[in-house]
């Protein structure tokens, strides 16, 4: 009686590993079939030989070899998995670096854009008549007129900023920009000029002060 032994080794693995093992199964089966056929022929010639024992011995050898091969493949798979996870971590790091670089670049670009826009649109104010008002550091308006409440509270804010040595202050208000510039010190009081407009402005303090001096007699 011819016995066909099919060795099936099931390894839970990914698709490629299963395919390899299937092929191995087939090869082993074929080998067994060949061996069993040969043995049966030999038995016909020499019936004293125990074919079943020989087949079992061969089977165990093949099973051992396949087991070793499976272990090797699993080791390879594990090492591959480690490499893959390392690559994944590295890729994530790269992603983060790229993202932060992109954000930094965006910020720099927006700054450059805003600087370019300001350079193009900025208007130099050098005449007193183009200013809404000139006020002192004690909150009193000395030229022109503007919302008194705004001026007195902005004076209070300017007093806080006194040590900051700023030249310009811009405040967004109801869709327009209120620009406040330092004109200089006259009679022990610091003078500020204020202009509300839709575009950014820069003050020519020297010219404005000269014109103001002619008007208020300083």
């Amino acid at each position: 009686m011819i016995e066909v032994v099919i060795i099936r080794i099931t390894i839970s693995s990914n698709f490629d590993l299963n395919l390899v093992l299937l092929i191995l199964d087939l090869i082993a089966t074929l080998i067994l079939v060949v061996v069993v056929t040969k043995a049966s022929r030999r038995r016909e010639v020499n019936p004293t030989v125990n074919v079943v024992d020989q087949v079992k011995l061969l089977e165990s050898r093949i099973v051992n070899n396949i087991d070793m091969f499976r272990k090797t493949i699993e080791r390879v798979k594990d090492s591959n998995l480690n490499i893959l996870s390392a690559i994944e971590i590295r890729l994530k790091e790269l992603d983060r670096t790229t993202l932060s670089l992109s954000e930094k670049l965006d910020k720099k670009l927006s700054k450059i854009e805003s600087a370019l826009t300001n350079t193009v649109n900025v208007k130099i104010v050098n005449r007193l008549e183009d200013i809404d008002c000139v006020f002192r550091d004690d909150g009193l308006i000395v030229y022109g007129s503007y919302d008194k409440k705004f001026v007195v509270y902005i004076t209070q804010a300017l007093r806080v900023l006194e040590g900051a040595n700023f030249e310009m202050l811009e405040i967004s208000k109801d869709g327009s920009t209120v620009s406040i510039g330092v004109l200089g010190r006259v009679g022990g009081k610091t003078l500020y000029c204020l202009k509300e407009s839709l575009y950014p402005v820069r003050f020519d303090s020297e010219k404005i002060l000269k014109e103001l001096g002619g008007i208020i007699g300083q």
Partner: protein, 134 residues
């Protein structure tokens, strides 16, 4: 107006002043304090006693110059403080500022509560006198 209302007014002014006001007094036209801020209170009494006649006198003097009313009096002191007095109907509000004050802010806060003093009704004897002069 009740005394509580005067206290509320003073509280509001002082809280909005960012420390620019050292003392604040609401006084009757005869110089009696109705509500005060700042310690000691004796000085507030002095401010009330000075401010009320000072304002009344200024108002009388100005009346001889221009037919107008006084909105406020600002007394500038050598220590850079200011005493600002303004009418509140028949009373006055007097504010003593801190040194180098944000004067614009003090004016703004005082003007918010100030009310011009109403014209005094002329007595019948005064009216007769004026008619006689004419």
């Amino acid at each position: 107006m009740a005394s509580k209302d005067y206290e509320e007014i003073i509280k509001r002014i002082v809280s909005k002043s960012f420390g620019q006001i050292e003392r604040c007094v609401i006084a009757s036209e005869d110089g009696l304090p109705l509500a005060t801020y700042g310690n000691p209170d004796e000085i507030n009494e002095i401010i009330a006693a000075i401010s009320a006649p000072l304002f009344a006198a200024t108002q009388d003097v100005i009346k001889n110059l221009e037919k107008t009313k006084v909105i406020k009096i600002d007394v500038e002191l050598t220590n850079t403080k200011h005493l600002v007095i303004a009418p509140m109907h028949n009373n006055i509000i007097a504010v003593l500022s801190s040194q180098n004050p944000n004067l614009g802010l003090i004016y703004y806060l005082v003007e918010e509560v100030a009310e011009p003093r109403p014209e005094k009704e002329k007595s019948t004897s005064e009216e007769k006198k004026e008619e006689g002069e004419m």
